[in-house]
């Protein structure tokens, strides 16, 4: 709701301004690009994106399907949550299966068993198969220094690749979504949101989230300074001691390389308090894959990653 004391000065709150900007982006894409799809991971950012999409087109249904790139390394709670949410919103769910992609030879299982990087060919294959011309992603510019440079409408060539040195200038709120056949646009409606904005919006809008975002007791082990939950796809190696700790997940990705953080925040308010006080970035705290090199994200994005 618009706060009356705020409307008196014709001023939007920070969250209202961010929401309005995101809604504008959703509508622009649907008006200009023929076949959009929303990339849905089951994480909080993609859940917020779906919530915004619903608000952008209300009282009509969300006019595009959602695509989940399924690595096969899932948190069960997240999958169940995904299925409930798409049913409730009446959107069509498409699943691009990484395991099947490996069988079909699109990708090769890496020796360490992590499947983050090999999501890319499976994603590109699914986008091409369905003829999607635009794909909404939940990436935010505050997440990573390569992302800080990315446009809201991010052009991809017919190989799905990003060319960071040759991006279309993006002025005012005038987005250029023109493409040739085979090319596509990745669209990031949450570009200007921070992690804290996302959490505050979740609280303000009472958006439901998978339970793993809140503190719970879990069997974990330590690796590379991070706590990994013991999971079918993420088992301790010799010498890695298993302990029970009170943790929560700050991000939700491939279960084999998404780490948990120690936390007692079991309510939204406590999570917001924790996020506001944290001194470590979301990806730095929880993603094994971004520790590989200084340009890990840039390299993955060039290949066509989310």
């Amino acid at each position: 709701m618009i706060d009356k004391t705020v409307t008196g000065e014709y001023r939007l709150s920070q969250l209202q301004a961010l929401e309005a900007e995101s809604i504008h982006v959703f509508r622009e894409v649907v008006a200009e690009l023929e076949r959009p799809v929303l990339l849905f991971s089951g994480g909080k950012d993609s859940i917020v994106m779906l919530h915004l999409a619903r608000r952008a087109f209300w009282p009509a249904h969300i006019p595009f399907p959602v695509l989940h790139v399924d690595t096969g390394h899932n948190f069960e709670e997240v999958l169940a949550f995904r299925d409930r949410l798409v049913e409730e919103l009446g959107v069509r769910l498409l699943v691009a299966d990484v395991v099947e992609g490996i069988r079909r030879g699109l990708a090769v299982e890496p020796p360490d068993g992590t499947r983050n990087r090999i999501q890319t060919p499976v994603l590109l294959d699914a986008l091409e198969k369905h003829g999607f011309t635009a794909a909404f992603g939940g990436a935010r510019r505050d997440e990573d220094k390569a992302r800080a440079k990315e446009r809201v409408f991010s052009f991809r060539d017919d190989f799905g690749q990003w060319d960071p040195k040759n991006q279309r200038p993006e002025l005012w709120s005038l987005y250029n979504g023109r493409i040739h056949p085979g090319e596509s646009i990745r669209v990031f409606p949450l570009s200007n949101w921070t992690e804290l904005d996302v959490w505050q919006y979740i609280a303000q809008q009472s958006i439901a989230l998978p339970s793993i975002y809140f503190a719970h007791d879990r069997q974990v082990f330590e690796r590379a300074g991070m706590l990994f939950g013991v999971h079918e796809y993420c088992r301790p190696k010799a010498g890695e001691e298993v302990l029970t700790a009170r943790v929560r997940y700050r991000t939700v990705g491939d279960a084999s390389l998404t780490a948990a953080v120690r936390s007692t925040a079991d309510t939204l308010d406590k999570v917001i308090e924790e996020v506001a006080a944290t001194r470590i970035t979301e990806r730095g705290a929880t993603r094994g894959d971004d520790k590989f090199s200084e340009a890990a994200m840039e390299d993955r994005k060039r290949e066509g990653y989310f």
């Binding site: 709701m1 618009i2 409307t7 000065e9 014709y10 939007l12 920070q14 209202q16 301004a17 961010l18 929401e19 309005a20 900007e21 809604i23 504008h24 509508r27 622009e28 649907v30 008006a31 608000r55 952008a56 087109f57 209300w58 009282p59 009509a60 249904h61 510019r141 505050d142 990573d144 220094k145 390569a146 800080a148 440079k149 960071p164 040195k165 991006q167 279309r168 200038p169 993006e170 002025l171 005012w172 709120s173 005038l174 250029n176 023109r178 493409i179 040739h180 570009s191 200007n192 921070t194 804290l196 944290t278 001194r279 470590i280 970035t281 730095g284 705290a285 200084e294 340009a295 840039e298």
Partner: protein, 416 residues
């Protein structure tokens, strides 16, 4: 929320200033700082190079320069800030234009030892051309001129003189030392003669809500919402973002290009109807009458309409390697409307350093500014850019490559 752009070359201490703002507002995370420390050490720097925080691309780190606009975020208890960190070199004018296009405020840095240089003037000029409402000249490295009031006042005087030629809406000049944090968060004891606010205090308190145009009602129709569902069988709403003005249910409106009038039945959001809509709210308008309205149409008031123009006189910033010449055909995107445009004439090329107008120029090259006349295949519903940044700005797109090749600011328009 305040969006601001920063301009100035690496040598002026721009990265240090941004690093300082992020650091002092506790927006640099320890893992980011560690990564920068490691990278600095690996390069053999004997100091922590805060520029590495903002230079996010491999090529930028390799060359030690900023190529593209980076967006950074920080917040204080009073306000959230979005920084568009733009490169300072002349060859990246287009990025500065991009960063300034949405900015409420621009900070131009100068080195107190060097005073105003060509670049400071160019940056200030671009911010005024883009109608950034607030300009801050940050006179940096005051520590290296012995905190001298005289040096500061000389730069202040020179810049104020220059600014009168530019039509700067609101100018603030602050002496700082980004390296040592003087006049950044709090007032510096080293410069007791300075009685103005610290930089952060100014950023937190500068009044931006009055910068918006709340007078001219302009609602570009972005998308038509028709659920055709059993619950909403006859619903027809015009979705869009308020460009300017305040709309209320019951208001009489005029729709362009048809010229038909109607009344606002309701202004819908997902939370239900609202009593008013103002910029930059994204809403859905229902009208009392059934009219034929589609994307690209403009809802306004009967006695306050934008110009309906096919001959467009505009200042543009050219952003592409292939130069602009007369006779070129381009795609033009303005609000939610896309038309084709022909370059009828090139009035002059503007030297952004001297402000000299070079008439008879044959072409505009990459990063050139110039005034051109366009003829469009269909009318635009537009306002002068100086009155309305949303309905006065447009982009030009290459018809073959689809690249965005120019930013345009409408000076005036005429019906054909």
């Amino acid at each position: 929320m305040l969006r601001f752009a920063t301009a100035g070359s690496v040598d002026d201490g721009k990265s240090t200033l941004i690093g300082r703002l992020l650091y002092d507002s506790k927006s640099i995370f320890t893992d980011q700082l560690e990564a920068v420390e490691q990278a600095s050490a690996a390069k053999g720097d004997d100091y922590v190079n805060l520029a590495l925080l903002t230079d996010g691309l491999r090529a930028e780190r390799e060359q030690g320069i900023t190529i593209d606009v980076a967006y950074r975020y920080f917040a204080t208890p009073r306000r959230k800030f979005v920084i568009a960190d733009t490169p300072g070199h002349v060859q990246y004018t287009r990025n500065m234009v991009t960063g300034a296009s949405l900015a409420d405020l621009a900070i131009v840095l100068v080195d107190a030892r060097k005073g105003l240089v060509e670049q400071s003037r160019r940056h200030a000029f671009i911010t005024t051309l883009l109608r950034v409402p607030h300009l801050v000249l940050a006179v940096n490295k005051m520590d290296l001129v012995n905190w001298s009031q005289e040096v500061f006042e000389q730069i202040q005087e020179e810049f104020t003189g220059f600014a009168t030629k530019l039509d700067v809406p609101d100018l603030t000049i602050v002496p700082i030392s980004a390296l040592h944090g003087d006049n950044i968060v709090s007032r510096s004891p080293n410069m007791p003669w300075y009685e103005g606010p610290s930089l952060l205090h100014h950023l937190e308190h500068v009044h931006v809500s009055s910068d918006r145009n709340l007078i001219d009602v302009r609602f570009p129709v972005q998308y038509v919402i028709r659920p055709q569902s059993s619950q909403f069988p006859d619903y027809r709403g015009y979705a869009g973002t308020v460009a300017s003005g305040v709309l209320k249910p019951g208001d009489e409106v005029l729709v362009l290009p048809s010229g038909f009038t109607s009344r606002i039945e309701a202004i819908d959001t997902a939370d239900g109807p609202v009593a008013e809509a103002f910029p930059p709210m994204a809403v859905t308008i229902r009208l009392a009458d059934e009219l034929d309205i589609s994307r690209g149409d403009m809802i306004c008031r009967p006695h306050n309409t934008p110009m309906v123009a096919q001959d467009i006189d505009a200042m543009i910033c050219w952003m592409h390697d292939r130069p602009l010449v007369r006779g070129r055909k381009l795609t033009l995107k303005h609000t939610s409307r896309t038309v084709r445009a022909l370059v009828k004439s090139l009035r002059y090329r503007l030297d952004v350093n001297t402000l000299h107008r070079q008439e008879g120029a044959e072409a505009l090259g990459l990063n050139d500014m110039g005034r051109i006349v366009l003829r469009t295949t269909a009318p635009l519903f537009a306002d002068e850019y100086r009155r309305n940044r949303t309905t006065g700005g447009f982009i030009l797109i290459d018809e073959a490559t689809n690249a965005t090749v120019a930013a345009g600011m409408i000076i005036e328009g005429q019906a054909r």
